[in-house]
Amino acid sequence: MTNFFPLPITNVLAELEVGEHLYWHVGNFKIHGQVFLASWVVMGALIVASILATRNVQRVPSGMQNFMEYALEFIRDLAKTQLGEKEYRNWVPFIGTLFLFIFVSNWGGALIPWKLVELPSGELAAPTNDINTTIALALLTSLAYFYAGLSRKGLGYFADYAQPTPIMVPFKIIEDFTKPLSLSFRLFGNILADELVVAVLVFLVPLFIPVPLMLLGLFTSAIQALIFATLAATYIGEAMEEHGEHE
């Protein structure tokens, strides 16, 4: 993981830092430490929430259990509408993980006062505002849908690239590259842009004016999490779809 997406606008807008990272050196890799720290916080929050929800399971759910069951139901419905009644069950964990991680990352980035903690370099923010995170998530989605297609149809999965006509083959191949690309850039761009807009506004007008934009940011980042999870589910469902003889 190198500095994949440097945006050198530091000179344009006062001291806004983009592309400044807290580098940790692992072997020959330089990794973005602030992303890891924020990811750990997000993961910790999710794990704690899960433990709290399942620690004392009641028949009539209340409190945390009720909330997490509601979240699970939401994710299950999402997977069910995209994958169909027959297949969705196996994919709920993957899609749910994507959704919860992205959602909590986005909202955590927008709601937790990360700037209280001052790092030697770079600053803490949503993990999803780093392109490496979103690319990792998108590549996992690609792996997931290739796995889904191959495990369902064997190598016949690639034969389906020629469905309904062989003309589609190059487009389908291009799609395999554009899917992770669009997934990762959409999420990364939205979250980074959102945080940048808020940061810039805070610079210009420190009080009250950024609030509507922050609320809007909450809305869009929730939507982004939903979009990412839905698209991942759609790709997986597409890969498993039967073509040709079974209609």
């Binding site: 530091t10 001291e15 806004l16 830092e17 400044e20 807290l22 580098y23 940790w24 050196h25 692992v26 430490g33 028949r59 009539v60 759910p61 209340s62 009720n66 909330f67 069951e69 509601y70 927008a110 709601l111 006062p113 700037k115 209280l116 903690v117 001052e118 790092l119 030697p120 370099s121 600053e123 808020v198 805070v202 420190p206 009080l207 009250f208 950024p210 609030v211 922050m214 609320l215 909450l218």
Partner: protein, 187 residues
Amino acid sequence: MYSQNIFYNLPIHGNVLGSLVLANEGVGINFDILETNLINLAIVLGVLFFFGKGFLGNLLGSRKADIEAAISKAESRQAEAAASLAEQQKKLAAAQEEAKSIVAKARESSVRVKEDILAKSKTEVERMKSDASRDLASEQERVISELRQRAIAKALVEVESKIKVGLSDEQKRGLVDKSIELVGGGN
């Protein structure tokens, strides 16, 4: 906001722990309220809590109520089902009892009918046997009497022929005497 390029530019070629330690030296806490955007965050969090709490509370409350209703409904239906099961089992037991009694009755009556039939057929056989023996006896009698008559007839014929051949007076008298004696002249 503070780019501390001292650490950023340091050529670090150590292991992870070393670099972590080195990186952590610059960690601090920024208490600048305006710069850390605390007030805006507080407002946003407040708005979120104010609206979210009611919304989420309603959502979760209705969810809980739905679940409770569903559970109580299921429980009442379970109780109902258990009651009807018990009732049907009772009915089943009664029916089995009845079936048993019917079978026992049938067995009893079958035994009785068998005995009846056996007795009847025995008496019938007896009757037939006695009929047959009676028939046999009468036939025997008939045959015997016929034979006797035939023998008598034959004897008479013989006697007549002998008489025709001739008897002396002596003989005739002797015969008459004998006959008189036979008929009962003696007493």
